[in-house]
Amino acid sequence: MTGPNWSQRKVGPPPAHIIETEIKGDISLFDAEHNQVVVLNATASDVWRLCDGEQTLDEIVALLASAYQQPPEDLRPDVVATVTQFVDAGFLPSP
């Protein structure tokens, strides 16, 4: 997860057994294999939307930094922590 080239690898997409739905702006994830539900907060929802297998971690940080108008280096630790949680929970494959 924190290997040397990880920042350059595409993040996602989620495996087929992860079902996503949006309820009035909040994203909820259902793990159909383990019958578990997670409701994401607004920031985690923004990160999740970008974990579609099209962007690398660096690109996700850059996109969010632009959207939030904050320096990438300030956002990076939170983005890494959030993506790590998604991977550890099985909602995303390990990059």
Binding site: I19, T21, I23, K24, D26, S28, F30, A32, N35, V37, V39
Partner: protein, 286 residues
């Protein structure tokens, strides 16, 4: 031995109840009148129940004690007709929900003008008492046990089983003792919507409000919360989400999206019902 028999269809499952005395069956027909069929139907043994005078099958019991059977197996000890009625309805309820082919969630449910309000909660969380208080406040009765959803269209299927109230609930609501009271026995007494001066809903309903309620606070407070809270409650309090898998997830999400979601803290079911009537009653909808 059997002198009377009635047939019921509860949440799509048919049941037969027979009795050694027609007087035993009359209160069953009364509390389950919304499910009563007017014709004989074929019913497998696992869905046949019976009320029998205990003396006819066992000697060491008091006069007038009744036994409940399901498929020739006793359901609990001999007791009064009121306790037999409670045991019978409890067993029917359990089996009907178990065999229900829709999405069912532990919840009290009321309605007004075709729109349902659900109170998802655990057993013992006060949903029957709050539901009964709301019926007394003028809402129609839908269920004190289960929010039953047709998975094909997301509509609420009314399940107006008799409301099961503990002695404490009867006291809180200030009710006179129900006709078949089992006060002091540890069982719950059964009352109908009519007993509370209300009506039972019979048509399918759209779910308009989901109220996550918490009894035991020192005030009444109703505040709107995120819809995702309702989705999690619907799934965690579901009787049968494991049967439906991701369909249950999508359904819970759709129900939470279409409804307004509230958290209710309350100190007394009657005052809570008044607040629900004032804030969520039809005239308050827009």
């Amino acid at each position: 031995m059997w002198v009377a028999e009635s047939y019921f269809e509860i949440l799509g499952t048919r049941f037969a109840v027979r009795a050694t005395d027609s007087e035993y069956l009359a209160p069953v027909d009364r509390v389950l009148e919304h499910f009563l069929l007017d014709h004989r139907v074929g019913v497998p043994a696992s869905r046949r129940f019976a009320l029998a005078e205990a003396r006819a099958v066992k000697r060491a019991v008091g006069d007038g004690e009744i036994l409940v059977y399901r498929d020739c197996r006793r359901v609990g000890p001999a007791g009064s007709l009121g306790s037999a009625l409670t045991r019978l309805v409890t067993s029917l309820n359990r089996q009907a929900i178990d065999e229900f082919d829709g999405f069912a969630v532990h919840a009290g449910v009321i309605s007004l003008d075709g729109e349902a309000i659900a109170f998802p909660n655990t057993s013992g969380g006060g949903k029957s008492t709050l539901t009964a208080a709301c019926v007394e406040a003028g809402f129609d009765y839908v269920s004190d046990e289960a929010l039953c959803i047709d998975v094909r269209n997301g509509l609420v299927i009314p399940y107006p089983k008799p409301i099961a109230l503990s002695d404490r609930s009867v006291e809180l609501l200030g009710l006179s003792l129900p006709e078949m009271s089992v006060a002091g026995s540890g069982l719950e007494s059964l009352v109908t919507a009519q007993d509370l001066g209300g009506d039972a809903a019979t048509s399918r309903l759209s779910l308009r409000h989901i109220v996550l309620s918490q009894f035991g606070h020192d005030r009444v407070e109703l505040q709107e919360v995120a819809a995702s809270e309702a989705m999690v409650a619907l799934l965690t309090l579901s009787f049968n989400h494991y049967k439906l898998g991701q369909e249950a997830f999508r359904l819970a999400a759709a129900l939470a999206s279409q409804a307004r979601v509230w958290r209710l803290f309350y100190d007394h079911p009657v005052t809570a019902a008044a607040v629900i009537r004032e804030r969520l009653g039809r005239q308050s909808l827009s």
